[in-house]
Point group: C3
Chain length 651, copies 3
């Protein structure tokens, strides 16, 4: 089931006819789903519950056949834009339970009720300081299993607060769903994480899957994409979507919040999405397997924070060009219902992995100092993103996963690749799986300070390095070189940019792939290649990914990747023939039908040569500009355009 | 009565002869008034009062015929440069009363005592956190009248702390004056506000007028002009002066503190006024109706904060070039006593208005983010300043007023204009007066996000926009465009710079005045003109003022203003024939005699063509460089020069 | 006795064979001394002491004949990188005493024990807030002697916290040494201060000398040299070393911590020392009289903060190029044992002085504002450094002293010079000594706001200026000019850069040395020269030093210094014939043998012409590149090279 929708914001002062008008407009423009914040503050005066304001909305939804996700919103301060993230006391927890009791029982009656969102945007970056949380922390510590691995008995950094934060999120989410299930046994329960490039450190999606019906997210350009410039927002959305796809695993997911309109005073960066961005964001999510996307929001809230901001309707209750574009995408989806009813993502089997512990340790070790990206909080995530972005520019639809989400339970990994870019910490439980991955045929690409630490920030780079056989080498030293420095590869003659540190290697079974530019005698080895079992490792202990990202060009990095992944890339159904800066390609499939989502953020119109394997062109299913065409294995796509092209498998 | 003066700083350790020397020098250089901080810390040891240190000063003042403003300064910490702003406890309030009792009674005896300054620089930016203040806040809330307007029942932002801060300032000031009046029924009571471009948010001058004899201000370039670069200090002083003139209304005002000398460690920006700046600052204030100006300070304090800084006398007790220039201005005033004894400001009847609520809301909604001027605290004030500055550069002496200070009680506003630039909030009580102002013949120019909110940060831009008839249009949307973007006017073909957001309009009775640069078909309207009753409105919901200010040129904005205000500008007694960047003109009058204050901050010598209506040139009354001349409707004025030119009304 | 050494970091989890290997490698590479952090946390579980982990290290040290400085490290948090600086409670003090009791008694048994370091890096920048410290503060205040000088009775800034911080450091250090002495009467006690350019404000070395055997320091480029760019690190090390030499006075000193390897997440600036820097740092210290230097550290700690960082051994326990260079320096020292056994520094008798009170007052008066170096914390120290750096570039080995360390007890100061650059505060107790210094033949160079305040931040620049006779002039005013402005000297025609303020002078007996560039008539005097007794003063109340430093060139400042100090410079045994940017020279001596340390940080190879007086070239004793040579009074030295050249006194 596919959705395009928008949140309807309900607040006292709105008239019934206003509320009805929004649902009517939803229907008129083909948006089938909404989400409503169920503010306790607007339902309860002391002991008296009055649901009438929200009843109007649910009745209007019934009238216009709009599905509603009810977003629980227990009492909080009007100045608290996103709601609280954790209960503050036992009484507070009781009050939340009481609120759920009243709200779920009451709104259960509406046919328009589609499902529940137990909390808005869980995750806060840090633990609250109250006694309730401290007690839970203590209880959690007391009940925690002793780890079998102890970093060889070394005294280690205490990362337990970060670990508990993950657990505390799980506990509260699970508790909320259990409270809902007391009164509603069957409706979907959905949660939207947010600010994923930062909050990933505190989310454990495989655990969430156990009690959620579907996974969601808030991906607001103005709040959450500060690791990106505006022309990178499509690929930012792509990475965000892939994190959610990976997090969801077997359960469905959809993008719960997308910026729908202009922000003035709220949001970290002011912007108003163009209609082209609306198409890009929706299709990028669909191309990553999302069941669709919902905008924040249909109507603007009227007062205080966000007043008059973010909306798809204008101040005169008229549709904006953004709403019309969303409507257009929605109609394309409807017209292709047979495809979208049961499609799946056909990714490249190349996975960029990050580890939660790398994010923890990067933060724990950070001190105020000269600001260099690789040393700041964000270096780990940006480094992983760099490879995802570079792959995107050669038309390779990669997945983006927390390492714990990767399926290491296969007998053969031939045709699969993993990229570990500057992932400081590889927890001990993944040492064997990663070695096995390579041994059983996988391709592993490693850069930066990856595997510097175990999960306890204990340095594992000594003679007993757990990957010494697999990587075929050991690290002698890391040395600071410069903010940006040149890095040369011997065979390919590529000149890449690197950032901050360069590791020197002591080769065991591996062979060198690095060279100096001007010297014929190599005194140091900075990168190597190793065969291990049926698989292969390329290890370059320099920050090539982040260096490329900072320098502003993936030309060389994507050449490097195309070389290293040639076995995989040449077999892909569709990919770019050459490096295409600012282009993005996603591939989805339903039986023998395929669709590619193509987005052009290059800044100019493009003719894209494609490598096509076993597919036959069918038609352009969508073009945001109505200009996109296909002729002779090439796509003509205008600047900012999103195209969806359908293909058929050759028989 | 006109003053040029300087504060004499009295502290223990000074000798009698030193103190006498400062008064003697005051007299010698024609400075007639001083102000003295009456430090309780230097008068009381436990229960014993010893006024002798200050008695010396008052006796010296008598000897040399210097008038003294006694500035109350109850006990405070030596490290507290400006003194406390509010009482901290009931006991503290009692101690202040006791201090006033002793001090006023004692110094009443001196003929040199001119009047009282009950507190130095009230206003602090925020409320203190103590219980006394919290109690007063609660009492104030309990006693507050329920507003008749409630933002249509919407839940609104709580701005009561900001509102109370205004009230709390009034209460304390009034209480202080009442305490003084217990012992001195007649002498002038004067208060100097400060940091006006920020603290305007907490001052309610019409209320202050009720108990003050005259209004004052501190306008220190190094502390208070951080919205300006140094070559803008004259126009900054002009705006500061106009805010005080407007605040004073029917009562007199004069500038209580002007930077007299170099600052090293104190002050936000180090500088030493040039003698030219001394002349500029004094005359700009006089040109705005000030009774003169007083410098901080005659002698440098000697220890700790500000030690050796700010003074008009050098370390050897000799006059600086600054003191000599102040002396020269003072003598010019004396020589023209007949004019200055009862002059008035002849402004252009163009008023730039700001609203206190816009300042409150801008601050309440501000979050830490990418720094863009229009979103930061200061955007509202800088936007208003931009029009004031642009008017200044065409020689139009505008007034600068909080909206509550504007006289809306007239039957005909023909020949008057109001500018509302990016004034986010127009409180509901001004909706009718503003509509009436236009209806009765006024000209209204509106830009930016003006009237986005009511006084409660409730967005009023919907179909019921309270100015829909008057403005003749409604807002469809605001959209972020860029930090700076081009804005085109269709008729005048002006290309202005705008900042951040651009509003699109739905015209009702208004006509479009905007155009696209390259497109012949206009899809959107970005600005409009409307006739309403006898008046006219120009509405451009883009930040033209702030955009011009940031871009560093008012060339186009002042053309726009000259066009829009041509009825008014062409009738002015004196104005500039062309746009004159960095020039400033003020006009004052006594019966049929006029004086223009002209300041040249353009960076080079200028020949200024003037438009003159009904005036005949008389003479140059003052020239700071002794170079300024007048020939054939043109002024020759050297760089940095201040000229005062006298005219006579044609008969 | 000379040392080159490296700290061995002992932590649980290390194996005996690892520990032995580090000592074996020390011996192999000629490093004779180590330092070990004696973590109480790794020795005590409750009441049970287990020293076995550290016993291994001391036994290994005995086997390989390595001397050990045992660094006391009472219990503290693992996340506390450098250890606590002050006791927090009386119980805490007792616990420290108990720890010392156990540790000193136990390790006394080892022959490998060389001495004790009672605390790591005392000094914290500020006082702790606990009650224990507050009580000690009160006790100190109560017991303090009343000052005989009271700033003429003026109310002054309270600087007592800063004064107490100095006293509190002394007390705690002394208490620690007394506790050690209870159990070990004879072994050396050594303390390493740190971050000297900031912490100098709280160190009183003449007082420390009373109870220390030798003085030390931590001089880590990545933590402590943020006033410098990387190519200035050698001269930074030189200044740091000179501060320690001065602080040590009659007792020996050596550099306790030097950065040994790469830092990734720790340290304010990432870097890895080159082998050339290793040579530079060691020799610069030796050239300043250090008994050698110890690197932090031999082996990397393995976990948490600094894990895998800072080490001279690589991850595979192999020597880095840095260790090999240190080894090479160590061997050179051994081979020249006869010289280094009893050498002394032959400085130029030019001393750059700073005053602790200037650092206090600069900090006390600092407010948040526009950032200009001379107004920020650091301005005082950087200003002093500027002259030290400029002297360095003409090959003049200056000393760098807190004023209290200068020997004012001589009858004749002919041939000595003192530089006071922007030393805001000259405490009253130094007024007479400074005047006498000049009167008895000394040369005094004064710039900036030197002597603006006494020790209480009372401004002393009035008619009673305590140096009016000595300087032969008085200050009229200081005026802000610009961030950088040109300053002209009349005779030498030098055009120097100055910063922020310019003082104007009223000459008494002095003669002007300043001129305007374009004007033939001088209205103001900005600098003067005065003869006083047998000595001379040059006073330029502008920030020439800081201005030169900010502008990035000492060309003019060193010309100025060469002129002013020509009597001294021309008599030096060795100096540079011309200004040599980025070069550094140190001179040491043993009887009639001399050695010069030369470092080339100019960025390119150089031929250095030397002025040589009374010395005969002997040989190149060390060349880090093996390229350095001497021919005909000139040195050929390659970029980054350190050379040590031996000379013999002519007979």
């Amino acid at each position: 089931m596919m959705f395009v929708g928008a949140e309807i914001f309900i607040e006292p002062g709105q008239t019934d006819s206003e509320i009805y008008s929004w649902f009517e407009l939803m229907q008129k423009y083909g948006l089938g789903i909404t989400r409503i914040r169920m503010f306790e503050s607007y339902m309860r005066k002391g002991e008296v519950w009055d649901f009438s304001l929200f009843d109007v909305a649910f009745e209007a939804a019934e009238k216009y056949q709009i599905k509603v996700y009810a977003n629980l919103f227990p009492e909080t301060n009007f100045s608290d834009v996103g709601g609280f993230k954790f209960p503050k006391t036992a009484e507070h927890l009781g009050a939340i339970a009481n609120y759920i009791h009243h709200v779920v029982q009451h709104f259960n009656q509406f046919n328009s009720l589609y499902g529940w969102v137990p909390i808005n945007e869980p995750g806060s970056g840090s633990l609250p300081e109250d006694d309730f949380t401290k007690d839970r922390f203590q209880t959690w510590k007391d009940g925690r299993q002793k780890a079998s691995y102890n970093s060889n008995g070394f005294t280690t950094l205490d990362l337990s607060k970060r670990e508990f934060l993950v657990a505390h999120n799980i506990w509260f989410l699970k508790w909320l769903t259990q409270e809902i299930r007391k009164y509603d046994k069957k409706r979907p329960i959905h949660v939207n994480n947010h600010d994923i490039f930062k909050n990933a450190a505190e989310y454990d999606f495989p655990n969430w899957r156990e009690f959620l019906t579907s996974l969601g997210g808030s991906a607001h350009a103005s709040w959450h994409f500060d690791y990106f410039s505006r022309n990178q927002f499509a690929v930012a959305m792509s990475a965000n979507a892939e994190i959610l796809r990976s997090g969801a695993g077997p359960i469905p997911w959809f993008m719960t919040e997308l910026q729908g309109g202009n922000n003035t005073y709220s949001g970290k960066r002011p912007l108003c999405p163009t209609k082209e961005e609306i198409a890009q964001w929706l299709w990028v999510n669909v191309g990553s397997g999302s069941e669709g996307g919902m905008f924040w929001c249909m109507n603007a809230r009227r007062s205080g924070f966000e007043a008059g901001e973010w909306a798809m309707l204008d101040f005169q209750n008229k549709p904006t060009d953004r709403l019309l574009m969303a409507s257009c995408v929605s109609k394309t989806v409807s017209q292709n219902h047979d495809f979208f009813a049961d499609f799946s993502v056909q990714d490249s089997r190349v996975s960029v992995l990050y580890t939660r512990e790398s994010l923890w340790i990067e933060q724990a070790l950070h001190i105020k100092s000269i600001e260099l990206e690789g040393r700041m909080v964000g270096g780990v995530m940006k480094s992983a993103l760099s490879y995802f972005e570079a792959l995107s520019e050669i038309g390779v639809h990669a997945s983006f996963k927390e390492i714990g989400e990767y399926n290491f339970e296969l007998d053969d990994f031939t045709g699969q690749a993993i990229i570990l870019s500057h992932q400081l910490s590889i927890p001990s439980k993944y040492w064997r799986p990663l070695n096995d991955f390579v041994y059983k045929g996988g391709k592993l690409i490693v850069d930066g300070l990856t595997a510097y630490y175990d999960e306890n920030a204990y340095c594992i780079l000594g003679p007993d390095f757990p990957f010494k056989d697999c990587f075929g080498a050991l690290i002698n030293e890391f040395k600071f070189v410069d903010n940006l420095f040149d890095f040369y590869l011997s065979l390919s003659k590529l000149e890449l940019k690197s950032h901050l540190w360069r590791g020197t290697l002591k080769l065991r079974t591996a062979t060198s792939i690095s060279k100096s530019k001007f010297s014929s005698v190599e005194t140091n080895t900075y990168g190597c290649r190793n065969d291990f079992g049926k698989g292969h490792v390329v290890w370059i202990p320099s920050l090539l990914g982040l260096g490329s990202r900072i320098s502003g060009s993936y030309k060389e990095l994507s050449s490097f990747l195309r070389d290293e992944l040639s076995d995989i890339v040449t077999q892909l159904p569709v990919s770019f023939e050459t490096h295409q800066p600012g282009m993005l390609l996603k591939l989805i499939r339903n039986a023998n039908r395929y669709m590619t989502v193509l987005v052009n953020k290059s800044g100019s119109d493009q003719i894209l040569k494609l490598n096509i394997n076993g597919l036959v062109y069918e038609r352009v299913a969508f073009s945001s500009s109505h200009h996109g065409t296909y002729i002779n294995d090439a796509i003509a796509i205008s600047s900012e355009e999103t195209m969806v092209v359908e293909w058929r498998a050759k028989v």
